[in-house]
Amino acid sequence: MTPSNNSSRYTIRDREDFQLKKIFSHWETLLAILFVAAFIVNSLVLPNFFDLHNLADGTFNFSEKALIALPMALLIICREIDISVSGILALCSVAMGLANSHGFPAYTLLFIAIFTGAACGSLNGLLVTRFALPSIVVTIGSVSLFRGLASVVLGDQAFTSYPQLLIDWGQGYFFDLIPRQFIVLLFFVVLFAILLHATSWGRRIYAIGNNPVAARFSGVAVDKYRFMLFTLTGAMAGLAAFFLTGRIGSTRPNIATGWELEIITMVILGGVSISGGAGTIIGVFLAVLTLGIVNYGMALANIPGIIMTIIVGILLLVTIALPRLMNLKKQRK
C-alpha cells in the first residue's frame, strides 16, 4: 500500500518491514554468527571438539556465571551495576557450609543460599535507593564486606563434606548427558526473556534505564524496581552458590574471586548498553555461549586460562569500539 492511497497523511505500520539489512545490523545476529564461526573453527582444528559428552561438560564452565549474568543484565539495562556478586556468592556458600555443619537437611541448603543472597542483595538495594548512592560505590564497599564476613566465618578453614544432593545438582546430569545446571540455566534464560521482553514489568526496566526521571513521572516506582533487581541479583547469586558449592564440593575463602568482572563482561558482550536502556536476554545468552565455546576450545588446545582473559578483554574492547570506529569513518566521508 502506498501512502497516496491512504486517506490519512501518514502510514503508521504496526510492524516494521522485513529487511535483511536490518537483521544483520542486530548485535544478536553478529553474535550468533560469531558463535557458529567459533564452533566450526573449533571442530575443524580440534579433533576431540565435536564430542557430545565433552561439549555438554563444557557447559559447566559458564552455567553458574550465566545464572548471575541474567539479573545483572536487567540491572545494567536499568543503569545500575552490582560489583558485589562474587562476595554474595562466597557468603551464600559459607552460609550453606555453616548450615550443613549444624546438621540442616540437604534440601534446605538451597533455600538458605537463596535467602542469604537475597538478603545481601536487598542490603545493596536499600543503600542504593534509601541513601540515593551510586550503585558502583555501594557495591565496591559491600563486596569487601560480604567477602570479609565469609572469611571471618571460614578463617583458614574450608567447609567440605557436603551432602550427596548438592553434588548431584552441581555435577549431575539429566538423561546421562546434559548437566543439570545447564537445564536450570536454560529454564532461567526463558524465564528472564519472557519477563523482560513480554511483560510490562520488563518494559518498565527499559523505561527506567532510558530516563529514570521520565519513568518516575509516568508512574513507574523507580526505586522499588531498583530494590527488586538488586534483591533478585543477590538471590540468583545464591542459586549460583548452590551449584558451584555442589560442583567443587567445598567452600573456600577464595571461591569465585574475580567473577564480577567476567559476569559484567558477558553482559556487555551480549550487547547490553552500560549507559542503560538497551539490551536483550538472548544477546546475553549468545555471548555466554560464544565465550563458553571459545573457552572450551582453548582448554582442549591446552592454552592457559589467563590467555583467555586477554582474548575476552580484546573481544570486549573490539565489540564496543568497532561500531564507533565505523561511524567515525562514515562521518569523514
Partner: protein, 335 residues
C-alpha cells in the same frame, strides 16, 4: 562559597577522624604511636595515596579507571624483567621505562575513552583483563624474585633521604604536583568543568577528548611509577601483583569525598581517604584483630563513609517527589 565551606569541613572532619583513630589505637596499643610504627604507616600508605590522587582526576571527569592495578602489575613486571636481564642499566633509566610503559598503557585507555567516546567502565574493564593477561605472557607465569634483581633496584624505595624514605618523598612531590595541577592549571580546572557538565564544557571550548586522553595517560603514568616502586619495595614481581587493588584505590577516593558522579573532589580528600584506609589496615594487626576481619571492617568503613558523604548529594537526587509536593503546596497557598 557555602559549598566550599562544607567541602572544607568534610576534609577537616576526615582529618580529625584519622587523628582520633590513631590516638584511640595508641591508647589500646602504645606501640602504634612510636616513631617507627608511624613512619611505617606513612610508607605503607604512599602507593595508595599516589594512585588515589590520580584516580581522583579520572573520577571528577565522571570516569573510572579499573585498569590501574593491572597496569601497575604489567609495568612493574616489565621493569623487574628489564632489571634482571640487564643488571647494569642505570636505575633512573629503568624507572623512566616503567613510567613510559604505564603512560602508554594509560593513553590506550585515553584514546578509547576520549577520542572514541566509549564508556570508561567498559574500556578499563577490557584493558584490565588484557594488561593482567600480558603480565602472564611476558613472565611465562614465573616469579622474578629478589635475588634476580640488582641490589640498587630493590634498595631505592626504602632508602632514606634526611631520615625519610624515598617513597614518602616521591609521594609528597606527587601530591604537590597534583595539587598544583588541580588548582592552578587549565588542564585541572577543565576536568572539573567536564565532570560537572560535559555539554557545557564542550560549548565553552574545552577540548574534552584531548583532556580525557591525557587524564587517563596521567593515571597510567602514575600506575607505571607505582609499578616499579611496588616491585622494588616488596622485592618480588609475579602475575597476581596488586590484584584487586583498583577497588582499594577507588574506595580511598570515595572515602575522601570525591563524587563518583563527577565534578567534585580535592587532592587533600584523596590523600586523607588513603591515609584513613592505611591507618585501619595498619591498626588492625596491632589491635590483635584477626586478619579475617580486615576486609569486613574495611567494607563497613567504606559504606559508612559513603553514606555520610551522600547527605550532601541527597537533595539533587531526590528531585522527583519534592517537586510534586512543592506544586501541591503552591496550589494550597494560592487558594
Amino acid at each position: 562559597m557555602n559549598r566550599l565551606k562544607y567541602l572544607q569541613q568534610r576534609e577537616v572532619l576526615l582529618g580529625l577522624m584519622i587523628v582520633s583513630l590513631i590516638v584511640l589505637v595508641g591508647l589500646r596499643a602504645p606501640v602504634f604511636l612510636s616513631v617507627s610504627s608511624l613512619s611505617n604507616l606513612l610508607t605503607d600508605s604512599t602507593l595508595l595515596i599516589m594512585l588515589a590522587v590520580t584516580q581522583m582526576f579520572v573520577i571528577i571527569t565522571r570516569g573510572i579507571d579499573l585498569s590501574v592495578a593491572s597496569n601497575l602489575a604489567l609495568s612493574g613486571m616489565m621493569s623487574a624483567l628489564l632489571a634482571s636481564k640487564f643488571p647494569d642499566l642505570p636505575l633512573l633509566l629503568i624507572i623512566l621505562v616503567a613510567i613510559t610503559i604505564g603512560l602508554g598503557l594509560g593513553l590506550i585507555n585515553g584514546y578509547l575513552i576520549g577520542y572514541l567516546g566509549l564508556p570508561p567502565i567498559v574500556v578499563t574493564l577490557g584493558t584490565m583483563s588484557v594488561y593482567r593477561g600480558l603480565v602472564f605472557v611476558l613472565s611465562g607465569g614465573a616469579w622474578v624474585s629478589s635475588h634476580q634483581m640488582p641490589a640498587a633496584f630493590i634498595a631505592f624505595p626504602l632508602s632514606q633521604l634526611l631520615g625519610i624514605t624515598h617513597l614518602v618523598w616521591i609521594a609528597v612531590i606527587v601530591i604537590a604536583v597534583m595539587w598544583y595541577l588541580a588548582h592552578y592549571t587549565h588542564f585541572g580546572r577543565d576536568l572539573y568543568a567536564i565532570g560537572n557538565q560535559p555539554n557545557a564544557a564542550n560549548y565553552i571550548g574545552i577540548p574534552t577528548p584531548r583532556r580525557l586522553f591525557w587524564t587517563y595517560g596521567l593515571s597510567g603514568l602514575m600506575a607505571g611509577l607505582c609499578g616499579y616502586l611496588w616491585v622494588a619495595r616488596y622485592a618480588v614481581a609475579y602475575t597476581e601483583i596488586a590484584y584487586g587493588f583498583e577497588f582499594t584505590v577507588i574506595a580511598a577516593c570515595v572515602i575522601g569525598g570525591i563524587n563518583i558522579a563527577g565534578g567534585a573532589g580535592t587532592v587533600s580528600g584523596a590523600v586523607l581517604g588513603s591515609l584513613f584506609l592505611a591507618v585501619i589496615n595498619n591498626a588492625l594487626p596491632i589491635m590483635k584483630i584477626s586478619p579475617f576481619w580486615q576486609s569486613a571492617l574495611t567494607g563497613v568503613v567504606i559504606l559508612t563513609a559513603v553514606m555520610i558523604n551522600a547527605r550532601s548529594n541527597k537533595k539533587s537526587s531526590r528531585q522527583i517527589l519534592p517537586l510534586q509536593l512543592l506544586q501541591k503546596n503552591a496550589i494550597r497557598s494560592s487558594t
